[in-house]
Symmetry: C2
Subunit: 439 residues, 2 copies
């Protein structure tokens, strides 16, 4: 969509184009930023401010002046001298904000920073360990598919022996789905594999990527940890990160740098940017390392709500789905009691669940997110259990990943139900830490 004639006139008068850096005065306010393309309201001039957020300005009384392009001087190309007294970390890039910059042509943030550039902008990393980097994908995590998890798992399986640890940079939208996927696909991996993301937090102009990377490197070198975890800001200060188990973490805020939270367990550790490591929760996988990168995509997450339509369950049945993760209400409930004229269709919900649970797996989680699923307390929970629903003690996202992974191994629904109820690698929260609620 084009800008309105009024906006176009204003821009052409000052020879300002899309992507140009400008100084704007409007009334008592002044701004500096980048001119963006029209985002839907043609008569508002959109400017991306230095904090990454856009404002729309009416053209009335506006003074606009083109500024020279800001060339951020990049440090000299990073030359990495191998230091055999140090550990060696492989950084695998998959894209996301942690390795992104603004594309001034389209106004979008895009994943376009080469691994070397990222390293050059974080020279502290080289003081902690020898660093090798490689680009695996260049994408936002919201676009990631289970096939990418499999490719990434294969890459880590192939590389991990040659390094002391691996850092994976990843967009934050679905990073917790990927950490869960790699936890199942690379169970008991004998090296630390730490995911790192970055939030474009609205509260600060600067990026949080560097500190998250540095804390991850410190944890690999000094944490004595093996397995899949996520390293992100612990709070709004730029001092500490948490290391979260890849199986028990969730993005709980759209923009804050401390948006990732361990659910029902404490984080594994707190790591300061100076390398201090405080252990909080002993989460270690036991058993033999296995690389099992499989996933059956005939799985889905379905949220229960008042007014829920049983025909949605029939859609999944007809579409040949092998597994459904329900996000039930409360302790793990769905509307199944017939009480009055308004609830007559609840009998159809129950029978649709029963039919689905016969030849596929219906796993129950809670949309509360925190706390145990317990379907024995109330009558409708018991009806769901009798219909064959399997309660699981994990986030809906981890349950979804586990279910797709389990169904990648077996097509037998009964075997899959048993596997869903087992605690294979610590994915079932057996003892909730009360301190972890909204920690």
């Amino acid at each position: 969509m084009d800008y309105s004639p009024a906006v176009k006139r204003l821009l052409s008068k000052e020879k300002v184009g899309i992507g140009d850096r400008v100084h704007i005065e409007k009334g008592k306010n002044s701004f500096e930023g980048i001119v963006m393309p029209n985002t839907g309201q043609p008569d508002l001039l959109v400017v991306k401010l230095s904090n990454g957020y856009n404002i729309g300005l009416e053209t009335e009384d506006i003074k606009i002046k083109k500024l020279p392009e800001l060339k951020k001087p990049l440090p000299k190309k990073f030359r990495h001298e191998y230091d055999k007294s140090k550990k060696t970390i492989l950084i695998l890039h998959t894209g996301g904000t942690v390795a992104s910059k603004i594309d001034y042509e389209t106004g979008a943030v895009s994943a376009s920073v080469e691994p070397e550039d990222l390293l050059a902008s974080m020279p502290e990393l080289a003081k902690i360990a020898n660093i090798r980097t490689e680009m695996v994908f260049q994408m936002y995590s919201g676009d990631m598919e289970p096939e990418h998890w499999i490719e990434l798992a294969k890459k880590v399986a192939q590389e991990h022996e040659r390094f002391d640890g691996i850092i994976i940079t990843h967009g934050t939208d679905t990073i917790h789905y990927t950490t869960a996927a790699l936890s199942f696909m690379l169970q008991n991996i004998p090296k630390p594999v730490i995911f790192v993301g970055s939030q474009r937090s609205s509260d600060r102009g600067s990026s949080d990527a560097a500190m998250n990377m540095i804390c991850a490197a410190h944890f690999i070198v000094g944490g004595n940890f093996k397995g899949i975890a996520l390293c992100m800001h612990a709070n709004m200060n730029d001092d500490d990160c948490y290391i979260h188990s890849g199986l028990h973490v969730r993005k709980m805020h759209t923009s804050r740098r401390d948006s990732f939270r361990s659910i029902d367990v404490l984080p594994i550790a707190r790591v300061s940017k100076t390398g201090n490591i405080e252990a909080l929760y002993d989460f270690r996988t036991k058993g033999e390392y296995k690389s099992l990168p499989v996933f059956n995509k005939k799985v889905a997450i379905v949220k229960i709500h008042p007014g829920f339509n049983y025909k949605l369950l029939e859609f999944f049945e007809k579409a040949g789905y092998k597994g459904i993760v329900l996000e039930g209400t409360g302790l793990g409930h769905a509307p199944v009691d017939v009480l009055d004229k308004y609830t007559r269709h609840h009998a159809l919900v129950l029978s649709a669940i029963k039919r689905l649970a016969k030849n596929s797996v219906v796993a129950m989680t809670s949309q509360c997110l925190y706390g145990k699923v317990n379907m024995n307390v109330y009558s409708y929970g018991r009806k769901l259990l009798e219909a064959g629903v399997v309660p699981v003690q994990m986030t809906p996202e981890t349950a979804y990943v586990k279910l797709g992974w389990v169904l990648g191994h077996t097509k037998n629904a009964e075997a899959a139900k048993n596997l869903m109820q087992m605690n294979l690698i610590g994915e079932q929260v057996e003892r909730i830490d009360p301190r972890a609620f909204l920690f």
Copy 2:
């Protein structure tokens, strides 16, 4: 399902039946509780302990003794003397744990306490105000349908003039959907309407119902509040409740008594059980009172996740749905970029969204739950905006309720999209309080 012969033998030897109160010794442990029916593992004897939770016991080395039935002496039938110096509160019961007891025949908790019984067990209420009670429904909130919201709204509309305030007891599973529904259906109602629930918290044997009710009554009498709100435990102590806006609250834990949390705003107030009221957040509806109890059930909540199937959107289109609330990832995203062979179907996701958004409303919320939706930051957000998706600043649950309510007023999709973007009664969070994250 029956118990195994071994369990049956054990019970019949001591003449113990289902529903009997028993004392059990097993090894070094001893328990008191109620014998429950078999819940799926026939060789485990299930006993409901006094804290409301069930344990399954192997019969080996078990000593069981039948106890006399515990008759809790009920106070004399509550006689209410009208005191004209006091305000008068109407308590409307809808069911749920707050007004429930265990059915020893089925092992389930059931809603069967008469309003008078409840009042008799909370004599403190009569010291705060004159109390009238009425049973509207007798159901768990997980069974509640939008039609029940309409009936309840009509009841409140009809009764509120005669009272100084109304307390509504309600199951906790979907209480936040109902508070949102009544906020839209009874906007600017000139009286305080306070919902109260109760959690069977696993940490304490006692019920939290009484304190929540007492705090709600104190807030009605002394809070100078008008509108729809929810009163629940502020923390794990039995001292304070929070009053949450009916539009910005969510059940965040399956079992804790302090499971309800205000999202992105502070609670309206903290109320102590002694009647101390501390105002925290000024949330008052402005404008004329309107009773608008309508809802269009052709709406649904759909969660986005890696591996999301666009055919699910086609199902809703074919089924004649008028509105979909997406729970997007991150800032409000869905997989719409085609990058490689694994993401080819993303083009179909985008076109399915575009088609749906043409004749119906597709509103975007975030599965993060906290923080603003901002679809201008990344390219895929912008593609979704161009496809006609409407970003909204509220929980997925409130967005769902608002969408059904809006579509109860107009069948015109464009008008409905406009209404979804407006801030009608404070449902859009315009300024996030950073203190409210995981508050």
